[in-house]
């Protein structure tokens, strides 16, 4: 199993029956593949549908039904079309039970930076600031490191996405819960030791006595 699938399968375990979930583009969108169909979960695509489904059968793609990345999708039975005002009302009003987003950095305060690398990448925040500010639960799904650098840092050096503390960080090495007391190491990937994680993490971690191995969906 590659790192991305591992992360997606672990995040999938966080999704509760009957909830409304928004998955970011890229890795986060893979989470849907590991959520049982009978869980009664509705996925939101912030561009305008509740009840986002998988890719349509070949030849049945329709340009009026896409995800936020512009890719063809389907809608599940019970889906609802929503305009952008309703879509972000759901996000900002606390109706969205969970969002899963990629990250560039998470710091010891639980702050996320994921929308800008000054001078290099200025794509715009899209819906990220609203999602992190408004969703009931924010999960960051990302690689633990990029180019040999820890993405879990004492203090974000990149521009913040929001002032809100995110709820959980799932990486290829670890599951970390940002709390008022700092970043608590909750689980480790199979075969990875606490020392491995500490070595790969620039931020300080709070290490409980028991750090079990991740169980996957």
């Amino acid at each position: 199993m590659d790192a991305k699938e591992f992360i997606a399968r672990r995040v999938a375990r966080e999704i509760r029956p009957g909830s409304l979930v928004n998955l970011g583009i890229g890795l986060p969108s893979m989470v849907a593949n590991f959520v049982p169909a009978d869980l009664g979960v509705f996925f939101q695509a912030e561009n305008g549908v509740i009840g986002l489904g998988a890719r349509p059968p070949e030849g049945m793609e329709d340009r009026h039904l896409t995800d936020a990345g512009g890719g063809f999708v389907t809608a599940v039975p019970g889906a609802a079309s929503i305009d952008s005002a309703m879509s972000f009302g759901l996000i900002r009003g606390g109706h969205l039970d969970m969002t899963v987003l990629g990250g560039l950095q998470v710091d010891e305060a639980g702050h996320l930076a994921n929308w800008k690398v000054p001078g290099k990448m200025v794509p715009g925040m899209g819906g990220a600031m609203d999602l992190v500010t408004g969703a009931a639960r924010v999960i960051v799904a990302m690689q633990h490191s990029a180019k040999g650098q820890s993405k879990i840092v004492p203090r974000c050096t990149l521009p913040l996405t929001a002032q809100r503390r995110v709820d959980l960080v799932v990486t290829d090495l670890a599951v970390i819960e940002p709390t008022a007391a700092g970043l608590v190491l909750r689980e480790r990937a199979p075969g990875v030791t606490v020392d491995d994680i500490r070595a790969a993490t620039e931020a300080a971690l709070v290490i409980p006595d028991d750090v079990p191995e991740v169980i996957l969906a």
Binding site: G48, I82, M125, G126, G127, D130
Partner: protein, 217 residues
């Protein structure tokens, strides 16, 4: 509604330096015939307010490629490398706005609000230069209304009095933008007799629409 126009005639209404609200999300739901006519007319110095600048060859991306846009107000430009290149080259200025804030600002413009108070963007770069108001002990950014000289709307069906309906995720920003253009021009995939769109299916009342484009050839 005042009447139906050929795309070229509609484009002729739009002068150099005009501000345009353009519906669509990654060009899904954008008024492509209207945009083509603007490119053909070639008036420049435009301000475009849109969720994104799509990609080269699609939707707002065509106006970017043609060099007609001077200023962009959007939530995301990351999927159009030309927008980023022109921004770096100083040919385009860009105001990046969180997507939920963008839709509320446009709605506020159309609905006569002086602005809305939102926590999105607090403690981020988005806060810079903005008024802050405290309500019941919580701090909020004052986000101001957005209007434009024209709103260019992409719809699914229009009827003879200008009532509009939309399909699935092609709806997105269109109904909100139809409130906020001083002149509203709608391009529909079909134009149907009054009564074909029942009252409860109308998403944009015809009283908001100034002009329909005539049907596609």
């Amino acid at each position: 509604m005042k009447g139906a126009l050929r795309p070229e005639a509609a484009a002729e209404m739009i002068p150099e330096g005009a501000s345009l609200l353009i519906g669509g999300f990654m060009a899904v739901g954008s008024p492509e015939r209207m945009i083509d006519a603007l490119v053909a007319r070639g008036v420049g110095g435009l301000t475009v307010i849109a969720n994104d600048t799509a990609m080269p060859g699609k939707g707002v991306g065509k106006l970017i490629s043609a060099g007609l846009v001077r200023h962009v107000i959007a939530s995301h430009i990351g999927l159009n490398p030309e927008t980023q290149a022109k921004m770096i080259a100083g040919e385009i200025t860009c105001e990046l706005v969180p997507q939920g804030t963008l839709v509320e600002r446009i709605r506020a413009g159309g609905m006569g609000l002086g602005g809305v108070l939102t926590p999105t963007g607090l403690a981020t770069e988005v806060e810079t230069g903005k008024q802050i108001v405290t309500v019941e002990g919580n701090r909020y950014l004052v986000e101001t209304p957005l209007k434009a000289d024209f709103a260019l709307i992409g719809a699914w069906q229009a009827d003879y009095v200008g009532n509009l309906s939309y399909l699935l995720t092609a709806q997105n920003f269109n109904p909100v933008m139809a409130l906020s253009g001083r002149t509203v021009i709608a391009e529909a995939e079909s134009i149907v007799p009054v009564g074909v769109i029942p009252p409860d299916a109308v998403k944009t009342p015809g009283v908001l629409v100034d002009h329909l484009l005539i049907r596609a050839a």
